[in-house]
């Protein structure tokens, strides 16, 4: 399996990119290191969402909740208790996965679009609680200055930590998507009725996917705390969830690495556009409309179809279809 992986072109490219990123802090100014770290965190978040959306066709419209739950759990534990940092870091994703399971149990019984609708509403309850429970969560101010262990507190330190965790998570996601679990998930995406007819318990499988995806979302939340050192309710607000969704669409939601590209583009755009105008939401909406009308499979999806136009008959099992 590793032999197969190494022989692919994309592996070589990824390795090269990884090496460049490893060396980046030695030649990039601090702001760009920070920005890259934010992109990494967001990329992980988008990748975790895409497990549900692109590979499972589950309309997880409020994935941000689990990001926020992961961040808040880790952040609160670090700020308010004396639990060792690694325990707080592990508690985050676990709490997120648990929330994912609970909310998933309710939403899974509705079909498709309504799954997403209900998730937005239920997830907003968590936002409302975080927003109002000033005593625990700092309300809409959030909590700042969360103690992060020294070796990862600096810009460079957090950069490397995030990069390594991202790398591990991407590797794990790759394995999962290549496994029978992932294959079955993609079959459910394409045709859930058929899957039931071949003996697959569709709802169970989807729930498991949600738990996995929300776990990784929680990891992203912990990484956010490492990079920013603070938590605030915006993490739980569903417009952020929408933004992540757009990242997946933009990059290419039926591809493996599309969400990473989408995250990089949106985060960069948001950062640079933000210096000119405060109407980022409007621009985001326009981007979404352009995507819907002109690029529904995202950038990488479009590329695949262009490059392989003469060979679309052949499935590329080496790439994620």
């Amino acid at each position: 399996m590793f032999g197969e992986m190494i022989r692919q072109k994309s592996f070589g490219v990824s390795l090269a990119v990884f090496l460049v990123l490893l060396l980046a802090p030695s030649f990039l100014p601090r702001f760009y290191i920070y920005l890259l770290a934010v992109i990494f965190v967001t990329a992980l978040l988008a990748m975790s969402l895409n497990l549900c959306v692109g590979h499972g066709m589950l309309f997880q419209f409020h994935h941000g909740v689990f990001y926020g739950v992961g961040a808040y759990t880790a952040g609160l534990l670090l700020a308010k208790t004396s639990i060792p940092w690694w325990m707080a870091f592990v508690a985050g994703p676990l709490a997120a996965a648990f929330a994912g399971l609970l909310i998933g149990l309710f939403c899974i019984r509705l079909n498709k679009l309504y799954f997403g609708m209900l998730q937005i509403s239920l997830g907003s309850l968590i936002w409302a609680i975080a927003f109002r429970w000033y005593g625990l969560t700092g309300g809409d101010d959030g909590i700042h200055g969360i103690p992060i262990p020294d070796f990862i507190a600096s810009t460079t330190g957090s950069y490397y930590f995030v990069l390594i965790v991202l790398g591990i998570c991407l590797f794990l996601m790759y394995l999962i998507l290549k496994s029978p679990f992932g294959s079955t998930l993609q079959a459910i995406r394409d045709n859930p009725e058929r899957c039931a007819a071949v003996g697959i318990h569709v709802r169970h499988h989807q729930l498991k996917t949600i738990v996995i995806a929300t776990f990784f979302g929680g990891v992203a939340g912990v990484l956010f705390v490492v990079v920013e050192g603070s938590i605030f309710p915006d993490l739980l607000f569903w417009v952020l969830s929408l933004e992540i969704f757009i990242m997946c669409l933009l990059g290419g939601w039926f591809t493996f690495a599309g969400p990473i590209l989408g995250a990089a583009i949106i985060v960069s755009l948001r950062t640079f556009v933000g210096t000119y105008t405060e109407y980022w939401t409007l621009i985001l909406g326009v981007i979404l409309i352009l995507l819907i009308f002109f690029l529904p499979e995202g950038i990488m999806g479009y590329n695949y179809r262009q490059l392989f136009r003469s060979r679309t008959k052949y499935a590329h099992d080496s790439q994620m279809e």
Partner: protein, 298 residues
Amino acid sequence: MEGGQTITLAALSITLLVGLSRAMILFIVTSGLSFVLGVLRVPNVAHGSLYMIGAFAAYSISALFGSGSVGFWLALIFSPLVVALISLIAERSLFCHLYEREHLMLLLFTFALMLILGDLTKIVWGADYRSIMPPSLLQGFVTIFDSPFPKYNLFLLIIGPLVAIGLWLFSTKTKMGKIARAAAVDMEMVGAIGINVSWVFAFAFVLGCLLAGLGGALVSPTISVTLGMDHDIIIEAFLIVTIGGLGNMWGALVGSLIFGITQSFGVLLWPQFAIVFPYLAVVIILTLKPTGLLKSVW
């Protein structure tokens, strides 16, 4: 938490009535959402934005005519029309080209519309709070059980059922209403007998948005009109149509009543976290009946 002794019959009755009047607004708004859901099979995420624009437009129209009683009544009439116009423009220019695509694309469009309308509202009206005075006829209180009850809420308690009856008459007695109901059940058949499906969709969408605008206009004297109203209302509306039964107008009524009343009692019992009560009701209902209390339209 209030002590048991201070919850009198009067307080309970007022709470119930306040909950009912809030439920009327919720019903007007969610009936529009339900209608669109039933005919187009898509939850219109921008529904909340149109509600918000209805409220802001009511403020502007009212201010245009002197901010007095006349201004209010004119705002009540014209604000929903403004909203309807906006929705018609959005529908005919962009939305209708997506009708042949999968439902996900339609839904994503409504998301984009929400994002865009939200910022457009900010551009046009800025980020400040607005407020509208109710007309002099409806200012002040009546006394019920020795307790004050806002006259405006009484007005809402009358308007709500009127709208409900109007909608019922429309959908059962008028030709357009019957076509819309038929389209909700079987779109292909409606197309097959020669009715222009695209116009049915347009009509349903605009009517739904008009109701949202009406709800926004009606609610404007009771709350501060601000950005973020769109998010708040759409979350509640989604919950209401889900517990009521997707696409079912009466379900929207039942859901609104449950939501409005539990919320009102929540404010009485635990003001800081009043929001928890309606959510609790939703969780209980969905655990027992995952697809909603009333039958879904399809």
